[in-house]
Amino acid sequence: MTAVAEHVPAERVDADPALRVEGLTVDIRTITGTVRAVDAVSFAAHRGETLALLGESGCGKSMTATALVGLLEPVAEVVAGSAHIAGRDGLADLLAADRKTRRKLAGPELAIVFQDALTALNPLYTVGTQLAEPFRIHHGMKAKEAKRKAVELMARVGIPQPQERMKSYPHQFSGGMRQRLLIAMAVALNPRVLIADEPTTALDVTVQAQIMALLKSLRTEFDMAVVLITHDLALVAEEADRVAVMYAGTIVETGSVAEVFAEPKHPYTKGLLDSVPVNAERGAELKSIGGSPPDLHSIPEGCVYQERCPLAREICRTTRPPLEAVGARRKSACHFPGEVKNV
C-alpha cells in the first residue's frame, strides 16, 4: 500500500455525516476563574473515513473527545454546542442526552479507544469477561453465547490462541495486545462512530503499524467513521483522510489531509509542518515555532495564535478570525490565509 490515505468518493462525502459536532464549548472551573478549554468546535465525521483531530497538548482535542462520550471531569462542563450522531434510531444529540440514552448509545453507536490500555481495562476481571460484557449488556445474550462472540472478536483483532487466552488477565498481555483488546471491546457492537484518543502513542513503532492496519481494516469492515486524536503529523498523513487542526481550544484549519499538508492555509499548521525534521540537513537549525502554547487563563482578544504568528497584524489583535471556507471543503481561521505559504 504505497498510496496516501485514500480519498473517500464524492457521493459518500456529501451524504449525511455519522457524527456532526457544532459549536462544542467546554469550560473548566478553576480556583482563579473559569477557563475555556474548548471553544466553539465544529466538525463532521463520515462513515468509511478517518477524521484526525490534530494538535499539541492542551489544545483541547482530548477534552473534546471526553465531552462527546460524557466522561468529563467534574470541574469541566459543556456550556454550549450539539453533537448529533446518526444512530440506528435516527439522530440523537450526545450532549443533550440523559444517562439512559447515553448508555444505549455507548457501544452500538459510539465507542472510544483510549491511549493507555492498562488503566482502561479492569485488572480484576479476565479478558473474556470484559469482552463478553458489551454483548451481555446490550444484546442481552447469555453468558455462553457472549463468550463465543468474545472469542470471535479476539480472533478478529489478531490475538493468537483466543480460546486459551480468554481466561487471562489484562496484565498478562503485552502493550500491543492490550490495545487490540481495547479496540475489540470498542468495535464489539459494530458502532457507527469510533473515537481513538492517541491509540498508539505508548506503543513501539512496529506495533503501531500493526494497530493502525487493524483499525483501517475494521473501519472498512464495519463502515465506521473514525475520529483519530493525535499529535503525530506523520500518523495523520498516513492514516487520516481529513484533518482538523486545533490550537488553544479552537479549530484553526480543516480540510483533506493531502491538501492541508501540501498547502496549509493557517500559520500554525505551517509551523507544525516545518517543525518535523523531514528533509532537513543534519545539523541544520529546525524551524521551530517561537514561544509556547498559550495559557488558557489569558487567551488574548482577537486571534488565539497572534503571539506566535509571523503574520500577525493589527486586525489580528482585535478581531478573532472566523473559521471560513478557503477552498472546496477547506476552512481556515486566519485573516491572511493566502500569505501562509510565504512564512
Binding site: 478553576t30 480556583i31 477557563v35 492542551g58 470541574v75 492498562l118 488503566t119 505508548a202
Partner: protein, 328 residues
Amino acid sequence: MSTQIDLVPVKPTTAIVGEADAGRRPGRSVWFRMLVNDRVAAAAAAILGLVFLTAIFGPMLVGDLATHIDLDNSNQAPFTLAHGWANVLGTDPLGRSMLGRLIVACRTTLSVAIPAVVISAVVGSVIGMWAGFYRGWRETVAMRVADVIMSFPSLLLAVVVLYVFSPSAANIVAVLAITRIPVYLRTARAESAELSSRVFVDAARTFGADGRSIITRHVLPIVLPTLLTVATLDFCYVMLAESSLSFLGIGIQPPDVSWGLMVSQGRTYLHTAWWLSFFPGLAIVITTVSATILAAWARIATDPGQRWRLTVPQKRLSRFTGAAKRLS
C-alpha cells in the same frame, strides 16, 4: 517506556489550567499568611502554643496550688467561684485544685509523650529509610525486627518492663519509644523504597551521589511530611498509652501527676464527681486534635505543589473544595 504513572504528571485539567503562582521558597511572612488563611489550623496552632506555654511556665505560676490539700473542699463541683477562683474547675477528693493539677500535669504528660515520640520517630525513620533505600538483606532484617516488636502486645511489654525495672519517667519513655518504632520504620521504609526507584534518584546516582547523600537530599524531604503526620497521630497514642499505664499503676506514680493519671484516678468517681476524669480527658483530646490539625496543615504547606491551597482564604476555597480535592 517508563511507568505510565510517572508519565502522567497531572490530570489534564491541571495541565491546561496550570498552577496558580506557586511562589518562591516562602519567607517567614508567607508561612504566617498561609497559617492565617487556614483558620482552623491557626486555631489549632494557638491552642498548641497555649499548651506548650502552660507546660513550660505553668507550674511556676501555679505554685503549690496543685498540691495544697484542703479536705474541707474535697470534691467540689466546677463552674462556681464559691470556693475561690482557683477551684473554678472543681477539686479532687483531697481538695486540691483541678485547675492547678491540670496545669502541673500538662508538663508531666508532655515531658513523657514528646521524648517518646521524638526518640521512636528518629530511630524508626532512620532505620526505615536506610532499609528501604538499600533493599536486600537490610530491608528483610529491619522488617523482621519491626514485626517482632509489633507482635508483642505493647502494653504487656510495658507492664513487664516497668514492673521489673520500676516505673520511672525515663523507663516509661523508653518503653513507649521502643514499642512505637515499627510504625515509623514501616512508613519510612515503604516511602523510601518507592522513592529509590524514581528517576531523579537515578539522576543523582549518575553524578556519583552515594546512598547517604541521596537519602538526605531526596528521600528525607519527601518522606518528612508523612512522618510528621504519623508522629502527631502517634503523639496522641502515646499520651493515651501513658494514661493506661498510669491507670494500671505502673505509669506516673503519685505524687507526680499526669493527665492520664488524673483520668484513671477519677474513674471511681465518675458518677459523683465527673469532672475529675472529664477535664484531664478533655485536655488530652484538645491537645491531640490540635496536633493532628496542625500536622495536616504542615503537610500541605511544605509541599510546593500543594501550597497554593493555602494562599487563598478558606471561604473562597470551599467553593472548589469538591473540585480541588479531585485535582490533588
